[in-house]
């Protein structure tokens, strides 16, 4: 009998290990922080658990948080240590679970909640729920989280969230290199929960005072909103409410928030109302039609929040702390990304190559397709070969493979060039140049997994 017990325990032990490994491989992974459509939810959540820094401020909420607040700016300008612990379209019940988890793990001095989630009704869409839940480690909190978003005690739905392999096993037809390598990768997320956007879409006034039909927030939203307030009170965590500038948020919404928080002593910073006062310009601070900001708007908005936090709370300045030396590298990535975006907007190929040659992080790969390279302008040629690696050469040992480069090259008649950023390990520009130095770009989203 003893033998049977030992065998059974060993068998199930090995099974459990294999099961966990396979679960990790099959899990859907949202790990591209440069995507225009989906937030890097896996990076945000994993990065939060991986973060070993002392966090004084944690921002919770929806995309209004992770797209609009940059913890790197907050650190650089105020020395505040913070993290955007948020995923897309979070309902208040999701945000409540995130807040609970943030307080349990990090015990921050301040929780900053963007109240946009009050506008969402009922339970979250499954894909959005998954992006927030899947990477939270199994705990009582997680089980409560699942229970909050599943209607009733639906065992099937609950087990689907606990054993995510049930949902993702059919991904066997589409597993990529990332699925195998990501679980072993360092989960540090340089942007600390923030998803940066660099493009600009100008929009009209946000019409905060516009009168719209509004029936009030749902009881479910209000219930969890009050739960968050009570949780912060109970744990002696300061709570600050904010609303980022957003064309969908109107005065009536803010009035309703003020009504709810009247019995509580809570500060509500309504930047949807005061965006002009802090310097947000609708012409060049948004990346879509007035809902989420680009890096310029983010910088202004984050600074405004930083000013408030610094002057109202005793927050330590971590800028000279040894433990925060990683921040310098992370800031370098941030500035490199800004530079890369600017680079990708330039139309003068010589100017592009000059910048590339002066920045040690860039590599240049090119091929010559159906043209005579001698017919090209000599200065351009000199700039090209200064750093450029002709793809006929051996590029083994580089971060990028010849196969992936060849897949990405535009293949136009002329010289096709790829600019690769070794710091962020991604292709930042993909262009071709004719004999007359006319530049062509294909607008295509480069995924990390393409590399």
């Amino acid at each position: 009998m003893k033998n049977v017990v030992i065998r059974s325990v060993t068998f199930f032990g090995i099974f459990l290990v294999l099961f966990l490994v396979i679960t990790e491989i099959f899990k859907a992974k949202w790990i591209n922080c440069y995507s225009n459509n989906i937030e890097p939810a896996t990076l945000i959540v994993d990065g939060f658990y991986e973060n070993k820094d002392e966090l004084d401020v944690v921002f919770v909420g929806s995309s209004n948080v992770y797209e609009n607040i940059n913890p790197l700016v907050l650190f650089e300008d105020y020395g505040i240590s913070s993290y955007d612990f948020a995923t897309a379209s979070q309902t208040m019940s999701q945000t409540y679970s995130f807040t609970k988890e943030a307080i349990r793990l990090k015990k921050p001095k301040v929780i900053v909640l963007d109240v946009y989630g009050l506008m969402y009704n009922g339970n979250p869409r499954e894909d959005r729920a998954r992006r927030s839940i899947d990477n939270i480690p199994l705990s009582i909190n997680k089980l409560e989280f699942i229970k909050n978003i599943v209607t009733g005690m639906d065992i099937k739905a609950i087990s689907d969230y606990i054993f995510s392999i049930k949902r993702y096993h059919s991904r066997w037809t589409e597993l990529s290199k990332d699925d195998y390598t990501y679980p072993l990768r360092d989960k540090h997320y340089s942007y600390r929960g923030h998803q940066p956007h660099f493009n600009t879409v100008s929009c009209d006034d946000l019409k905060y005072n516009e009168e719209v039909e509004f029936k009030g927030f749902t009881n479910l939203s209000k219930e969890y909103f009050i739960k968050i307030i009570e949780l912060c009170n109970k744990t002696n965590t300061s709570l600050v409410l904010i609303k980022s500038p957003n064309v969908n948020w109107k005065k009536v919404n803010s009035d309703e928030v003020n009504k709810i928080i009247k019995p509580y002593n809570i500060k509500f910073l309504d930047y949807a109302k005061n965006y002009k006062e802090i310097g947000i310009d609708v012409k060049d601070c948004f990346r879509d039609t007035g809902r989420h900001m680009n890096c310029k708007g983010v910088k202004i908005y984050t600074d405004a929040i930083g000013t408030y936090l610094k002057s109202n709370y005793q927050l330590k300045d971590y800028r000279n702390e040894e433990e925060f030396s990683q921040m310098k590298d992370d800031l370098e990535i941030y500035y490199q990304d800004i530079e890369s975006y600017k680079l990708s907007q330039l139309k003068d190929v010589k100017q592009i190559l000059e910048i590339v040659n002066s920045n040690e992080n860039y590599s240049v790969y090119y091929n010559v397709n159906q043209v005579d390279i001698n017919k090209y302008n000599n200065k351009f040629y000199q700039l090209l070969i200064q750093k450029g690696i002709n793809l006929t050469e051996d590029i083994s040992g580089k971060n990028i493979t010849a196969e992936s480069i060849n897949n990405l090259l535009l293949g136009n008649k002329g010289i096709n060039i790829i600019i690769y950023d070794n710091l962020t390990q991604r292709v930042v520009d993909n262009l071709s140049v004719t004999e007359n130095l006319v530049l062509e770009r294909e607008k295509k989203v480069i995924r990390e997994s393409d590399l």
């Binding site: 090995i14 099974f15 396979i22 065992i155 689907d160 949902r167 096993h169 066997w172």
Partner: protein, 496 residues
């Protein structure tokens, strides 16, 4: 609670654990409670019907056995027949009402319409209780065995109720014989490592067949058969071939899981499938396919009708009756009757043509033991059976005819290479996996016929053995068709 559901994965270990922990004396009560709970998970109201059938057959059994004690033999026989008649008719009336009433009314209306009479429109909302055909037949076999004095009646009502409701085989068979199962209920079953392991392995193989093969094939089959007007030629042939393996995997997987679950608890259920697609004749196929039902019809219908100990014509008539009724047992539609009749007809034609085959074999000096000859017979049998499956899968008789027409009207071999195959519900990878599944099934059947693979595996080194176990379990987890977005398809035989 389907076998391939989360609920069963929780239910079964709990039942087994408690079963082995509690004293032997009360184990049958625990299993009875578990079985009724299992059945009531579908609909608690169904349990009342099962209980009714149980009470009727239990009392009939006691009354029949008491009638044997009546000194006047003639009166005793009359009484016995009366009780059997009452038992059979009451059970079959319940079965008829729940399963065939709609079919009956629609046929009556068909006749009434011909003569321009007012149509019947009964205001019933009848839902077919899960597994009613299975437990009714199982209970009736008990009555018949008592009547034939092949079995003594079970006096303990709870033990008898467990015989009717034993959860592993309750809703989709095998239809157990009272002679085989009842005595096992009173036996003591100990926890034996090897028996439990073998039971679990059988269940595992059942899950492979159900989740990886049957449910994957079902995607293509449903796509094509539900839109049969859009498909022609080889596509319909392919869907029919896929269906032949789908229904085999589906039904045999259920039997394997049932037998495996019973084996874990120390019960031995009868074999229900023995490599049916390796049969060399249709008659042999029916000795290998759904054995518990075939033998039920043999023992309780074919033999009472006279079997083959009658004139040739009457014998053929008996075969046709048995197969037509068997068809009707599978479903309340003429297409099922046609399917059954076809299988009966195959056998009669086979018997009639036997002398021709014998003569041809002599003239052409055919070696009937040669592997090629055997292979040809297997293929021919498979094709005949496959053809009959069209009637089984089609929603009704006219659809089956239409499918056959569309199948032969167009010869379109290009669908094998132009990518059409991957637009029938399964993408390329899943289609390939389906084909691999069928090959594994056939190879497994082939070797299992020679020696029980579980035994063979048991003698291998532990590293190899455990690797096979893990590979199988994770294949089910990864390649199984289940989970959110997928409504775990019902086992095909549940509605019979």
């Amino acid at each position: 609670m389907l076998f391939n559901s989360m609920e069963f994965l929780i239910f079964f270990p709990i039942v087994v654990l408690i079963y082995f922990v509690i004293p032997h004396k009360i184990r049958y009560i625990w299993l009875l409670a578990a079985s009724y709970f299992y059945y009531m998970c579908w609909n608690p109201k169904y349990a009342i019907l099962m209980l009714l059938s149980t009470v009727i057959t239990y009392l009939s059994g006691i009354l029949i056995s008491r009638a044997n004690l009546v000194p006047n033999k003639l009166k005793a026989v009359k009484l016995k027949k009366l009780f059997v008649g009452f038992c059979f008719s009451s059970n079959l009336i319940i079965l008829f009402f729940f399963k065939y009433f709609d079919f009956f009314i629609s046929n009556i209306n068909l006749v009434l319409r011909k003569f321009n009479f007012e149509l019947l429109n009964p205001q019933f909302d009848i839902i077919l209780p899960v597994g009613i055909s299975f437990y009714t037949f199982q209970a009736l076999s008990y009555t018949m065995d008592i009547y034939r004095e092949e079995l003594k009646p079970e006096k303990n009502f709870l033990k008898y109720a467990l015989f009717v409701s034993f959860f592993p085989q309750l809703v989709a068979g095998p239809i157990e014989r009272s002679k085989n199962l009842i005595h096992q209920i009173s036996e003591r079953h100990y926890f034996e490592y090897n028996r439990v392991k073998n039971g679990l392995l059988l269940m595992l193989w059942g899950f492979v067949k159900k989740l990886i093969i049957a449910d994957r094939l079902a995607i293509l089959v449903n796509q094509v058969y539900n839109n049969y007007h859009d498909y022609k030629g080889l596509v319909l042939i392919l869907a029919t071939i896929f269906f032949s393996f789908q229904i085999y995997c589906d039904f045999s997987s259920y039997s394997d899981i049932a037998s495996g679950a019973a084996q874990v608890m120390g019960f031995k259920l009868m074999d229900n499938f023995k490599q049916p697609y390796f049969s060399k004749s249709v008659a042999e196929f029916w000795r290998r396919w759904h054995i518990s039902l075939s033998t039920w019809f043999r023992d309780y219908l074919y033999i009472p009708l006279g079997g083959n100990r009658v004139s040739k014509l009457k014998g053929y008539f008996n075969i046709m009756v048995v197969f037509a009724v068997s068809g009707l047992w599978h479903g309340a539609d003429w297409s099922f009757v046609m399917w059954g009749a076809m299988n009966g007809a195959y056998q009669i034609i086979g018997k009639e043509l036997k002398f021709l085959f014998d003569k041809a074999a002599t003239i052409f000096k055919v070696n009937r033991e040669s592997k090629l000859h055997i292979l040809l017979k297997i293929i021919t049998t498979y094709l005949l059976i496959c053809f009959s499956w069209i009637f089984f899968r089609a929603d009704n008789f006219s659809m089956a005819i239409q499918v056959i027409k569309e199948m032969v009207m167009e010869f379109n071999p290009w669908i094998l290479t132009d990518g059409t195959l991957y637009q029938l519900g399964l993408d390329e990878k899943n289609f390939r996996l389906a084909i691999i599944g069928i090959i594994i099934l056939l190879v497994f059947d082939y070797f299992n016929a020679k020696q029980d693979i579980r035994e063979r595996l048991g003698s291998c080194h532990i590293v190899f053995r455990w690797s096979v176990y893990y590979l199988t379990i994770f294949s089910i987890i990864i390649f199984g068709v289940y989970g959110l977005g997928y409504d775990a398809s019902q086992f095909i035989y549940f509605q019979f």
